[in-house]
Symmetry: D2
Amino acid sequence: LAKAGDIFAVKRIVSWGDCDPAGIIYTPRAFDFATEALEAFWRDVIGVNWMDLNWVRHMGAPTVRAECDFIKALKPDMAIEIEVRVLKLGSASLTFGLTCRDVAGDAYFKATYVACTIARPDFKATPIPPDMRARIEAYRAVCGDN
Amino acid sequence: LAKAGDIFAVKRIVSWGDCDPAGIIYTPRAFDFATEALEAFWRDVIGVNWMDLNWVRHMGAPTVRAECDFIKALKPDMAIEIEVRVLKLGSASLTFGLTCRDVAGDAYFKATYVACTIARPDFKATPIPPDMRARIEAYRAVCGDN
Amino acid sequence: LAKAGDIFAVKRIVSWGDCDPAGIIYTPRAFDFATEALEAFWRDVIGVNWMDLNWVRHMGAPTVRAECDFIKALKPDMAIEIEVRVLKLGSASLTFGLTCRDVAGDAYFKATYVACTIARPDFKATPIPPDMRARIEAYRAVCGDN
Amino acid sequence: LAKAGDIFAVKRIVSWGDCDPAGIIYTPRAFDFATEALEAFWRDVIGVNWMDLNWVRHMGAPTVRAECDFIKALKPDMAIEIEVRVLKLGSASLTFGLTCRDVAGDAYFKATYVACTIARPDFKATPIPPDMRARIEAYRAVCGDN
């Protein structure tokens, strides 16, 4: 199945300002879309927004690698969804898959982000706390490996 | 004289990504250009960059009002300069004039920003410190009222 | 009344990337929010999206003036709405009022945009077409002068 | 040798607005930096800016894949350079390596972009024109394989 209803996804409309003089999405904006979807996933699924992660938990989850394949060119006014999947869950690292689709389900870009969890103030790697890990594992159980 | 050599100005080239599908600058990007020129003015003329202003001086200089008249439309690849003038200097407020020109001196947009100086952590208005004020006054003496 | 249900408004959540190292919204992002709300107003209320305005109608509606008063500082994760009002309707110009509020109705910034309608390819002022004018007038009748 | 003088590089200063509430670069901004360096490379080294590529040559060079490893976190006010290398030159594709360094030569991020050349209006792959290919090959001869 191309897209399960259980997959967390963020809806948005491609804006005029996301696009360049060729009339299609400006390359870096795909990473803005993907990063904002990831931020929403932390807030809504992992249950810790990035402000609290940084200033209450004294942690961070910097992206150490991001990559994106551009499949079709997004254009202004398109209604899209960016789906978020957890591809790998390490002791102090997380790999996310982010797929942008239109309403027909066609894929426009597919990105992969690798983040590591660090502790402030020394920014050394620190294990993902049990409450966050439990929520991520519960999400993976629901959405499967697809 | 259209442009004195004494006016602090930041050079940049309008990028493809600053422009929209109509092939001209996307409106909000003018404020990006103006704000980055202002940031450089703080760093190079007032002598305190915004990181130090916030975390060493425990202050801030939030923009309380910004306005911009769009005169001509910027296009990709244009070499431009954003000039920074201090229009007013209050006890705890600063009014800046920011003019974007091409290499021929033609104006493309003119912005005005009003900032106030505040003290952390309560964000109440606080006077501009004497060392900063002295540098701003010296700049105004050099560049005149134009 | 602080906010009528009849006012067109765009909802969004302030993102981590909209904010700067001081932890509050980076000044130019307010203009991104306002411009995107205006784009949605054209699409949903005036009934002509900016792609069609430019490439089907052979027109444009460039912003000739934008201004913003910053009242309170937006922070990451805040749920906000940007309301769009038509303050003035000229023969070839439009003045919009854009107010950003949180869910309690408190105002965070208030922007005013002036746009003029132009015809391609010579970019000379051209009257707002009757169908668009009728929709704008209908909207003004509903939302009043507030 | 960390950095040959022959490598094309774009200088910039990391701005306050490029950084997020954690005080370090917001992930997508690295792709803005890389894409703008690539744009300058087209303009200055390949000799065809993106406006001319699209509207005079009736071509395009969309990014089909972009990836980035984040090595160290950039902070506001840092002076950096983004170096551009051509890693592969196909008949209708180009692979670029983009390395961001501070003034001491330390690497902060390394990105790879794959672009393909297409012809308008049907967007089908088209060979890199001889004049552009000659300039790219000349650049590769100067900067070597490093």
